[in-house]
């Protein structure tokens, strides 16, 4: 790969598939670079720029080249005939030991009003802008600026709209099954929506809340199985590393089965998302948020959002502190599970209302909450995974006897490994919780308590 001036950026062998992932460039510098910026996201062609370049040279009396130059025109590929020209550039490169000519040529060009040092990325920005795109405009991370005096229902409206936009934006990518993150981002926005709706349910007519909560939940159910399978498939390497060579074959069969299931579940999910029911529901939800949410809000919805935020966060925080303190090594797994839900709800609240409080305080609070959540999340993931693998093991019957035995052995191996890992995570909980309630954090809690 070279940059536009022909300088080598990196060399690597490229993949030949249609849909590209950074991992397809394995073992190269290019792959590593893409990996660090794009991770598990697919690489999509967005614009096509054709560059025409005409080179020239200036020679001295000995016909020795003393300056290299090129004139470049960038053309945006356009299906509708008319070519669109983006800004062109004139490039000059001096030759070592012949500096005077370069200085003279640069001065001449500047007198012609040409701007020196044209940043190459501007060409790309222009091309993207011509199709209404801006680099880094999409972020899966949620962020919104609220005004502390605005009514909570106003704030909620803004948040709902941003989340709904985020959901709708990801639907085409889900339907085309481009990569796993379209669905993931969609579901995160969905969960946030449900969480916020739950936390302000007393400010709205209960029939409305019920209707939308149910609809949102249905979408969650319809999109769940594919996401679950994605998580397993994305973690394939990790599972492979858990098992010795002898059990790999059974694991491979298991993953083939998961891929097959995903094809089915994807079909089912696409049907659900493209159904008239679902489309109409999302349209109703948009109309509700845009037009009637504020008007239909009850008295409580008109309180200033900061007050509501403090109350809600305080309530969650207290129940986490209380619930967490009660957990001992002998407590049942369920206790950790409900603490995880509480922590998640708190996390969403902090993210919604982040802009109303001091930024460094919120940053460190979210950071330490995240550490606790990681522990609780890992614990939960590990038990869900064991359950799923166990289910699958029980379902193994008939068919090819030998294969079934191999798969069962692999799954057994995985379950054992996951169980051990889970024990470790469980043991870590007390420490993590203690860290969450350190004096430093206590001071942060005082913002709300």
């Amino acid at each position: 790969m070279t940059d536009f001036s022909g300088e080598n950026i990196i060399e690597a062998k490229g993949p030949v598939r249609n849909k590209l992932f950074p991992l397809d460039f394995a073992n190269g510098v290019l792959g590593e670079k893409l990996q660090s910026v794009a991770g598990i996201r697919a690489l999509l062609p967005l614009v096509e720029i054709t560059r025409q370049s005409q080179t020239f040279q200036i020679v001295n009396r000995d016909q020795k080249v003393v300056l290299f130059g090129s004139l470049e025109l960038n053309q945006l590929a356009n299906s509708e005939g008319e070519p669109t020209f983006l800004a062109g550039s004139l490039r000059v490169r001096g030759v070592r030991g012949y500096d005077k000519i370069l200085t003279r040529v640069m001065a001449l060009l500047q007198r012609q009003g040409l701007e020196a040092g044209y940043p190459e990325e501007r060409t790309l920005r222009l091309a993207l802008a011509s199709m209404g795109r801006k680099p880094l405009a999409y972020r899966s991370q949620f962020s919104i600026i609220l005004d502390q005096d605005e009514a909570v229902i106003q704030a909620a409206r803004k948040i709902f709209l941003q989340l709904l936009d985020g959901m709708e934006r990801n639907v085409p990518g889900i339907i085309q099954d481009i990569d796993t993150e379209f669905l993931h981002d969609f579901r995160v926005a969905l969960r946030r929506t449900r969480s916020l709706l739950g936390s302000i349910k007393k400010m709205l007519p209960s029939a409305d809340v019920d209707h939308f909560q149910r609809g949102l939940q249905e979408i969650g159910i319809a999109t769940g199985p594919v996401r679950d399978l994605d998580v397993y498939l994305l973690g394939k390497k990790g599972y492979q590393a858990m098992l010795p060579e002898g059990l790999q074959e059974g694991l491979a069969v298991f993953f083939q089965e998961l891929s097959r299931q995903r094809v089915q579940e994807l079909r089912r999910m696409k049907k659900a998302l493209q159904s008239r029911n679902c489309k109409q529901f999302l349209m109703r939800w948009r109309r509700c948020v845009e037009d009637s949410l504020i008007a239909s809000a009850l008295e409580a919805g008109h309180e200033p959002c900061k007050e509501v935020a403090i109350k809600a966060i305080s309530k969650r925080l207290q129940s986490i502190l209380k619930g967490g303190a009660k957990i001992s090594p002998q407590s049942p797994d369920g206790a950790l599970h409900s603490l995880r839900i509480q922590a998640k709800k708190l996390r969403y609240l902090l993210e919604f209302y982040r802009s109303l409080f001091s930024e460094p305080a919120m940053n460190s609070l979210v950071k330490s909450l995240k550490k606790l959540q990681d522990n609780l999340g890992n614990f939960n993931d590990l038990s869900v995974q064991q359950g799923m693998l166990g289910q699958h093991q029980k379902g193994l019957a008939g068919g090819e006897q030998k294969k079934a035995v191999q798969v069962a052995a692999a799954l057994g191996g995985l379950i054992t490994h996951l169980h051990e890992e889970q024990k470790g995570v469980r043991q870590e909980f007390e420490l993590r919780f203690k860290q969450f309630t350190t004096t430093d954090n206590r001071r942060l809690f005082d913002l709300f308590l």
Binding site: D62, Q63, K64, V65, V95, R96, G97, Y98
Partner: protein, 246 residues
């Protein structure tokens, strides 16, 4: 930085043609290359159409202040330090400074990080300067015309290396300006060509090489894919392979 000196005490054996074409091949293979023209006649500079800057002279060279006087050729990865008329007394000047290989090493030390390969086009004589060059170079590459006199002068070089206690392994020769129609050429090659010090490649006597003075370009540029261009490309590959065994 590897130093390859193109050296022969005999004139007219094709040293400069070798230096010019070899440096081009070296640069083409992706190595940052500096061709240093030590011959006050400045033929290498002439072939690359590069004149020395007016302010350059022997004094600055001896100081090791080379950088401002290096000039880019028309080709990527290849720069040239042109010779100056005052280089004709370089050996006497070096002698005045204690005249050791250390001196030359110091002079070239300022470019050692910038270049992968330094190719020296040496003047045809056997002076203190030649001794220093032989000592400082990683490889001394000698074009040998398959004639008695040329062989004799190569034998002298071996003697000199022994006297200087320089490893003979450094000395690498190849037959240059070969005309197989001449009995003397084929006889000489038959007699000496199998010696370890000789490369397998022979550069034939070719008009395109002679015409370099007209084209003022390496043969690979003026007559690409010609027998001359191919011969020098092979010479470069063999030199590099040999060099990496040293």
């Amino acid at each position: 930085m590897k130093i390859i000196a193109i050296y022969s005490s005999k004139g007219g054996v094709g040293k400069t043609a070798t230096a010019v074409n070899l440096s081009y091949g070296c640069a083409r293979s992706g190595k940052k290359t500096l061709l240093c023209d030590m011959d006050p006649q400045g033929a290498a500079g002439y072939y690359y159409r590069i004149r020395p800057k007016d302010s350059f002279n022997r004094k600055l060279f001896l100081k090791g202040d080379l950088e401002p006087f290096i000039r880019g050729t028309d080709f990527e990865n290849l720069d040239l330090l042109p010779a100056h008329f005052s280089f004709r007394n370089l050996d006497i000047a070096l002698d005045g400074r204690g005249g050791s290989a250390k001196e030359l090493k110091r002079i070239f030390s300022c470019v050692k990080d910038e270049y992968d390969v330094l190719i020296l086009d040496c003047p045809p004589n056997m002076t203190l300067l030649s001794e220093n060059i032989i000592m400082v170079a990683d490889m001394v590459l000698t074009p040998v015309i398959p004639t008695t006199l040329s062989i004799l002068s190569f034998a002298q070089l071996i003697k000199l290396a022994d006297k200087l206690e320089v490893s003979r392994k450094k000395l690498v020769a190849f037959f240059s300006m070969v005309d197989k129609r001449k009995n003397m050429h084929s006889d000489t090659i038959a007699k000496f060509g199998k010696k370890k010090m000789f490369l397998a490649i022979e550069i034939p006597y070719l008009a395109d090489v002679e015409k370099m003075g007209l084209y003022r370009q390496p043969v690979a540029v003026s007559v690409p894919a010609s027998p001359a261009a191919i011969a020098y490309e092979q010479l470069w590959l063999e030199v590099w392979r040999k060099g990496s065994q040293l």
